[in-house]
Symmetry: C2
Amino acid sequence: MGSHCDHAHDETGLDAGEIGRALAAAEARCVQQGERMTAPRRRVLELLLQAGEAVKAYDLIARYGLDGVAAKPPTVYRALEFLEKTGLAHRIASISAYVACSVGDRAHAAAFLICDCCGATEEVTPPEGEALQQAATAAGYALERTTIEGHGRCPACRVAA
Amino acid sequence: MGSHCDHAHDETGLDAGEIGRALAAAEARCVQQGERMTAPRRRVLELLLQAGEAVKAYDLIARYGLDGVAAKPPTVYRALEFLEKTGLAHRIASISAYVACSVGDRAHAAAFLICDCCGATEEVTPPEGEALQQAATAAGYALERTTIEGHGRCPACRVAA
DNA sequence: GGCTCAAGTGTTATGAGATAACATCACGTG
DNA sequence: CACGTGATGTTATCTCATAACACTTGAGCC
């Protein structure tokens, strides 16, 4: 997982039971929205949930096959596109990585805190989206989507470093 | 320049005199900070100012030579790194593009409104940076840099479309 | 059941964005 | 003017992402 500094980092992924429940919930949400949770989509979401942090697309590609065989890039990118569209995952533009959504909502704006030390990502949904919305309104802009990402050190790494 | 829709867009770049003044001011700032405004750095900043909107790195590379000869990628990427470090330009992560800074400040956090229609970018410095900072503090994060980008339609394109 | 068509997937190839590594050059300092 | 640091030139390569096209699957319809 993330290793950009010298101290040890805790694992952050969910355990098998939690992943199973999250996948079932995601599938239910898809059915409800008239979307299909197909095999590659489920597999990519599973990999994101296992990681519990932001993951690079090509890491997902490498881990995709249960037998260690990599996927073809479009397989994973198409799944990511779907997961993003349905709000089950998000892209973190500042590091070109992807993360499972941690809120049970459907498609929604998101903001993130990213630890540059251990790679942890924390989704902090609403607060500052509103401030940006105000700035946009003041400037006459009609806002459609936002990218809000803060980089720094998480509590654990502030202590450890 | 930006053309993602069917209606016409105004040119946004500065005129020659304004660019000259902006370059002189940037150079003065560099000297003041003990940095060197070298030829490739000045050239890349000039290209950004001429564009007046976010530009892709490889467009800068293509436009770099006065005789139409492209630069080598590291030439431009190194200049961009310097301009970003000194606060003379910013990277817009959500579209992998770069833009000249529009505030006379030294290195500083920035936020952007980006028109997906005409490509206009507006720097709206502080407002929601503070909200994100608050969220970070609440979560125990020590924030070091932020990426805050809003996408939508600028006033002109809202009318034109 | 069998048609049909839209959505999804597999596959190949390529486009776009960014950096590593190393040789050489320019400049301020002692 | 020797020296060392920072900047540049150059080659090669790496990472990120998508275009294009053939094939498959599944829900709705008759």
